[in-house]
Symmetry: C2
Subunit: 216 residues, 2 copies
């Protein structure tokens, strides 16, 4: 009974996600769904990424999911062509239906990228397709080098993995080999981008991936 | 319909939580439910707390919730009198029913404290009473100084708040006043313990609280 309810919810979500993707495809917009724990640096990554893309003439919109507050949307408001905030009011992940409602309010014309910043949560967002073309699973060095194995459902479906705050590796004694050993068992297809949103180190490789993956 | 399902699940959980609490009360065991994002330092806090309590002749058991792996339980295995691992297999929070099953396998005699390390998640554990006597909401400086407001449902029901990794405050430019300004609107009753599991700074105040709160 319980399993059926969950199955129906996921099927309805997946159908809406497919509609979102079709709409984005028709408009030539490439969509990235960014997932991570709270504080890994999703907003900081977008603060670096969006102006860099804009400098190449590529316009981005952002959909930001949060339980409360509009702080992330405020941080991104001046950088992206359009920013839409979804307040989940306690909800632990974004759904395709929330993204569909946000899409209805966006002007997709002239956009190249749509970034969806999911609710900070390493568990629940993993199961919900939003209609994105690529899923990014992000983590940061202060969280510890054991997180890929412990929250493996986030890393299994990822098309790219971002390790942020690499400027702290030495100070924290972060052991990268533990992360890579774990990823060997979870996801060997996704590239891993080691970067620092603070110092800018490693961002070029991430930006090159965004450029190469986007097809129109 | 959906709301009713959720309501029933929560009512069933609360009834089981009350049973857990009665069982713990009868055995004279004081129970703390520790919640935080992944990597805030829940296991590290217990690695410091349990030996300090043991040095005072106070025995602790731990129930550790994780999606996968037994890594936290392994870290705590030599420190606590008893450690029970709950693998939620993808579940985003512990439930009173899982804790009841774990309690059935613990020998409560001679125990003073039971610590429950919840799944690393700032959203879903907030709604689920496990039968604890005190709820601790933990956060750490690398997550950013905006997290109490953004994940306020975790901090609303907290009996104590722990800010970990204070040794990084300066390096990260963490603004404590933002945290305290947010907490003024969310929870003014819970004490805030600023500490560093790494350097040991601030742990004495936290231990004093554990000692004072425990009633038998």
């Amino acid at each position: 009974m319980k399993i059926n309810v969950v199955k129906n919810v996921l099927e309805a979500n997946d159908a809406l996600a497919a509609e979102n993707r079709e709409k984005l495809d028709a408009a030539g917009v490439w969509c990235v769904n960014i997932t991570s724990a709270p504080g890994s640096g999703k907003t900081s990554l977008l603060e670096k990424t969006i102006p860099a893309l804009a400098a190449k003439g590529l316009a981005s919109a952002v959909i930001v999911g949060d339980l409360q507050t509009t702080r992330d949307a405020e941080r991104l408001g001046n950088l992206a062509a359009q920013v839409t905030q979804i307040n989940t009011e306690g909800g632990c992940h974004l759904t395709a239906s929330q993204v569909a409602a946000a899409l209805a309010g966006l002007d997709l014309k002239g956009l190249e990228y749509l970034f969806i910043e999911n609710v900070g949560n390493m568990v629940c967002p993993a199961g919900f397709d939003l209609g994105e073309h690529a899923r990014v699973a992000m983590l940061s060095t202060p969280e510890g080098d054991d997180k890929a194995a412990k929250y493996n459902t986030l890393f299994l479906p990822a098309d790219a993995i971002v390790l942020n705050k690499i400027e702290l590796i030495e100070a924290l004694g972060y052991d990268k080999s533990r992360l890579y050993d774990d990823l060997k068992k979870i996801n060997t297809a996704a590239p891993v981008f080691e970067l620092s949103c603070r110092t800018g180190e490693g961002l070029e490789t991430w930006l090159a991936w965004l450029g190469a993956k986007r097809t129109r």
